[in-house]
């Protein structure tokens, strides 16, 4: 039982990171119907920006909490810019082309970021400085929670609440929902769809960057190819929850993280990459639009 709870705690921490990445996928998909495969690499860039920013504020020595927040904000800000740059440079010219073309371009951008990462950051893994001092505490007897885990959970919950606030309570959020409902109708109502899309990319990329920083806290080894697998799995999480659906992405991410940690803990770590997809297939066969996705209107 204690072991199970321990695994659950680890799973939720890991899942909240997936959820943060999945949010970016799901928002972009909801608005553009584009699987932005480069999203996982934005997460990688986020981790690296934080790595350099942390060294700037004095890591690997002790870092004050304010400096740690600063590191997070720097990473989020620069990745938001990166996301906007990617959207403007690579996806905007393809707004009217077949969707598959944009998808291939996304794969191209992903390859570009990975290989630029190898040139700029070097191919060997780097050790992410501990900007949150590690300390374990007992949640209940036998179940250990690291301080970094609490930080990860707190930051991701905060960001998700913030996102919900933006999407549901602000004007730009309303515009986002309108564009994702029907882009053409939204633009006829005077919504500048290009600005909304740009904003979506900025927010999604900032969230991915936050995930990159948070993953640096729990798995300190970062390298230019670290974004590939988590990127794909976060996308799977987004599909699992019903793609285009923001709460769905959060739930999907959590399920994915918990399932993965459980499989590693109880079955075998070699099946770690398979469980995500197996879960996905089972859920999609039962509910083809994902857990929270609504059925598609089929027009003749």
């Amino acid at each position: 039982m204690q072991e199970f709870l321990q695994q659950l705690v680890n799973g939720i921490t890991w899942g909240s990171i997936y959820a943060l990445i999945a949010l970016g996928y799901t928002m972009v998909y909801g608005i553009l119907r584009l699987i932005n495969f480069a999203h996982g690499d934005v997460y990688m860039v986020g981790a690296f920006v934080a790595y350099f920013a942390a060294r700037l504020v004095g890591a690997p020595g002790p870092v004050s909490p304010i400096a740690a927040v600063l590191v997070l904000l720097i990473a989020m800000g620069s990745c938001a810019l990166l996301g906007v740059g990617i959207e403007r440079g690579a996806y905007k010219p393809l707004r009217k082309s077949p969707r598959l073309t944009a998808l291939i371009t996304a794969i191209g951008v992903s390859l570009l970021l990975e290989n630029l990462g190898i040139i700029v950051f070097g191919p060997d893994p780097k050790f992410f400085p501990q900007i949150v001092t590690p300390r374990q505490m007992e949640l209940i007897p036998g179940v250990l929670v690291g301080r970094h885990q609490i930080v990860i959970l707190a930051v991701s919950i905060l960001l998700m609440l913030l996102l919900q606030l933006v999407v549901l309570r602000t004007k730009i959020g309303k515009a986002m929902r309108a564009v994702s409902f029907n882009r053409q109708a939204a633009s006829l109502m005077g919504i500048s769809t290009d600005n909304v899309i740009t904003f979506t990319f900025a927010v999604g990329s900032a969230l991915a960057a936050a995930a990159g920083v948070l993953v640096g806290l729990s798995n300190p080894k970062i390298d230019p190819l670290m974004g590939i697998m988590p990127g794909i799995k976060a996308f799977v999480a987004a599909v699992l929850g019903g793609i285009g659906n923001i709460p769905g992405a959060m739930i999907g991410g959590l399920i994915m993280g918990v399932a993965e940690v459980m499989v590693v803990g109880y079955v075998s770590s070699t099946f770690r990459d398979a469980i995500a997809f197996a879960l996905l297939i089972v859920i999609l066969l039962v509910k083809p639009t994902g857990l929270l996705g609504t059925g598609m209107a089929e027009k003749v």
Binding site: P98, L112, N115, I118, F181, Q184, I232, I243, I281
Partner: protein, 359 residues
């Protein structure tokens, strides 16, 4: 009869080239040539699923892995027994070995086709990106499962596979793939495949069994991917699951889209181009993949419909190839006109999305 003569003629030419080519070029270029041929098989077979039937599959590497591992396991475990039997019966070892290899290639293809059937089944319920992610998932699951099978090397990789693949077999199977996909898509069946892509509901209303054609596309596509996997394993003499990650599937999808969805010649040329390009860029060292990726993005922005769109390359030289011969001249331009019309309709679909469900 005419077709049979042509197939025989092509076979003879390929046999001749098989002996000629290795003496003319160095082993490095020869290897690129072989990989080109294997990629042509993969791209053309995926084009049947993605380009002609419109079912978005990104799990082709999984099918390739099943075929490759099945074929390699058969020649590795059963091959020596068959060779012993043949020796005791006084048959030539090369002939028996080669025909056994071809049989095991077909067996690998069949194993892969069964997997294709299983993956094709969910396509009855899932559409578009959901199907894409499920095929990707299947591909990854296949890879992880193989990684855990000790009999085929597991994480160490499958070593000591006998080398049977030569220029003849690769080019022969590439030729067969092209002919099959070409003839299939220009037959009555082919119109059905295309109709599923263009408008599933309309196709169904016209009495086309869309389910059957979707699954059929998966089965045939997977079969040839399996054969390609077998050729791949018996050329490199070593298989590792790392060759079959989703990056490999992406690579094949890129070939199909870059060549033009629904253009066989496009797939062939894109497969060649994307195999040669990374090798040609070797002199620039670490910038190799950066240039490759930038070129890819540039090409997609410059030609969103792919290099050939939906058209086939219709030079005189291509006309004289056997799979064009039975068709006479007038087919060509008619198809082109169709192609452009399809393209326009697809364009409008993108602007006005059908689905309104996402909150």
């Amino acid at each position: 009869m005419k077709n049979l003569v042509l197939v025989l003629a092509v076979t003879v030419v390929l046999v001749f080239l098989n002996f000629l080519i290795p003496t003319l070029i160095n082993p490095y270029i020869f290897q690129i040539l072989i990989l080109c041929g294997i990629n042509v098989i993969l791209a053309v077979s995926l084009n049947l699923i993605n380009g002609f039937t419109g079912q978005f599959s990104i799990g082709h590497a999984g099918f390739m892995a099943i075929g490759g591992y099945t074929c390699a396991a058969i020649t590795f475990y059963l091959g020596p027994h068959v060779a012993n039997k043949a020796a005791s019966m006084g048959l030539s070892a090369t002939i028996v070995g080669t025909s056994f290899f071809v049989l095991s290639l077909v067996a690998g293809g069949l194993a892969s086709a069964i997997a294709g059937f299983l993956v094709g089944l969910p396509s009855l319920r899932l559409r578009g990106d959901y199907l894409a992610i499920v095929t990707l998932g299947f591909g990854e699951i296949i890879r992880v499962v193989i990684l855990n099978v000790n009999a085929v090397g597991g994480a160490r990789g499958f070593a000591d596979i006998p080398r049977y693949t030569n220029f003849f077999w690769v080019s022969f199977f590439a030729f067969v793939t092209i002919v099959v996909v070409r003839n299939l898509t220009s037959s009555t069946h082919g119109r059905a495949f295309l109709s599923v892509r263009e408008d599933e509901i309309a196709a169904e209303a016209l009495g086309i069994n869309t389910t059957r054609y979707k699954v059929l596309a998966f089965v045939i596509g997977a079969f040839f991917a399996g054969v390609a996997g077998g050729l791949f394993g018996h050329y490199l003499m070593y298989l590792h699951t790392n060759s079959f990650t989703f990056m490999k599937s992406f690579e094949v999808v890129i070939m199909v889209v870059l060549g033009g969805m629904g253009s066989i010649t496009g797939s062939v040329i894109a497969a060649g181009l994307l195999t040669v390009l990374p090798e040609a860029l070797r002199p620039v060292k670490e910038f190799r993949m950066v240039i490759y990726a930038s070129l890819l993005i540039f090409l997609m922005i410059a030609r969103p419909q792919g290099l050939f769109g939906m058209r086939e390359l219709s030079l005189q030289t291509f006309r004289s190839l056997p799979f064009r011969m039975g068709k006479k001249e007038q087919k060509g331009p008619e198809k082109t006109r169709d192609g452009t019309r399809f393209q326009k309709r697809r364009g409008t679909k993108v602007r006005a999305p059908k689905r309104l469900d996402h909150s």
